[in-house]
Amino acid sequence: MTAYTIQANQHQKIQLTKPGEYRISLVGAGAEVEVQGSFMTVGTDKTDVTVIIHHQAPHTRADTTLRGVGRDRAQIRFVGRIIIDEDCGDSNSFLTERILLLSDQATAEAVPDLEIKTDDVKCSHAASISRIPEEHLFYLMSRGLNRMSAEELIITGFLEL
């Protein structure tokens, strides 16, 4: 497990490159963090990413984005959890998990949890799992790309944060 601690009025950007468990604690008022991670999985990869954002002080901000692409027989699992403690008013936290599945053998699990113990917060999460929409492919293919390169282009854009 990797742990990060964000102090008062600090602003940090964290780029996740490896699967694993990350715990990020916002301990001082005014702490801000931006967490991003994008993961491409192929073959029989098993990618398991857990991110816990723990707000322990008021006026804290966090924005977490996880993206993954599953090919072949890969398994992707994203677990995100936002915890906002008591008396942490004026805190905002957002969590987004997006997964593209490109093969029928690939599997995905998205778990976006929230535990909110104070009322003066703005907090939301969103998760989606889908394949590349046929209209997106059609648009690019109507401009002369073949299916393969259209897919590659969309995936590259999807994983770029």
Binding site: G70, E86, D87, G89, I99, L101, L102, S103, D104, A106, T107, A108, E109, A110, V111, P112, D113, L114, E115, I116, K117, T118, D119, D120, V121, K122, C123, S124, H125, A126, A127, S128, I129, S130, R131
Partner: protein, 475 residues
Amino acid sequence: MARFAQKHSDAFDPNAGDTYEHGYSYSTSGYSHIIKPGLTEGVVQEISHIKEEPDWMLQLRLTAYQQFLAKPTPTWGADLSEIDYDKIHYYLRPTDDQVSSWADVPPEVKATFDRLGIPQAEQNVLAGVKAQYDSEVVYGSLQNIWAKDGVIFLSMDEALKTHPDLVKEYFGKLIPSGDNKFSALNTAVWSGGSFVYIPKGVQVKMPLQTYFRINAPNAGQFERTLIIVDEGASVHYVEGCTAPAFSSSSLHSAVVEIFVKKGGRCQYTTIQNWYKNIYNLVTKRAHVGEDAEMVWTDFNMGSKVTMKYPGFILAGKGAKGETLSMALASSGQHQDTGSKAIHLAPHTSSTIVSKSISKDGGRTSYRGLVNVGPHAHHSQNTVICDALLLDSRSRSDTYPVDRIFNSQVTIQHEATVSKIGDDQLFYLMSRGITEENARKMIVNGFIDDLVRKLPLEYAVEMNRLVEYEMEGSIG
């Protein structure tokens, strides 16, 4: 909190007024049978014996009892450590027979249901009614126009006597006794509940309703409901729950199994308003066939702890499932609710909408599962959870899980947590509305799209209940 203030049970007084006070009860001295508290194999045998059940049911109960003992109490959700299984009465029989006329219902039971407004509602808007008082169904009726179409609406105990083959074919097939600790407990000591069969092509246009009432202290209510909607048929089943105030806790653990066959439709509405001392641990599941539809509308306002996750198994091509869940948790309450969507067939779609409100230190949790199997291609699921926190002592959690085993799907999940915005309050108050009314309006607006799905009479009632809960809640 006037609604949850302590009240006492009195001996029955026929001259008492006819207004129902929330949390009120009559004493149980006139009961025809109460089994001593505590659960043993002997109790299970005694219940089965009293009911003169066939041997297969007794064996099922005994196996379930062993499963109940073997399974640990789940710790992943709400706190259940305070339930004392030895203090609970597992079987209380208020009267000897079910009757079909209000005039024959014992006076104190009748007074309770009268005060809840039940006979009146039956005359006006309902196709059929069951009323369950502690362990037994004491009253039942079904309007003739539905009975002549072959609609069966019986208590589960009656059904076991009159339609044993049908019961044996479906009982425990969707929720086996070993599903979880509380389904095992229910299977071991079940009593009462409804049995509904809607024949092919029959559309029951008025709701069927069952009222559940726990009247005795330390009572356990373990009703068992089985609904079978045959091909092309449709039904709307409504259950309402109330209980009086006692200092000790009671346990309500129901199992509801629903089979919706090809092209059928079933809507199951729960308005749960148990008193704040009830543990409400319920297992509900529907099996949905080809092009059929299942809708759960689940409103949880009362109880101390509720753990309830109505689920649907979309087993036929084109099946649809929908859950609309609303929870309101006040001080000392934990509403741990949600829904399970299991997609097994192609072109299936499901929607789960959950709205929760926490106030005065209450806690609401959404806990859900979306599982899309390898054969369920071209399936869609949308989950929306909105939570409203009314003060800084309350808590809201969201625990969703999406498990996807196939790529040709569209899965979306969204959740938000917020409070009543100062700007919203300011807007309404600048137009001359008091703060209290402004808050009520905002909360009613928050749940409006769910309440709209209820039949009109219940929607009005629901809005009133929410307003009642909001009374004097300016923080």
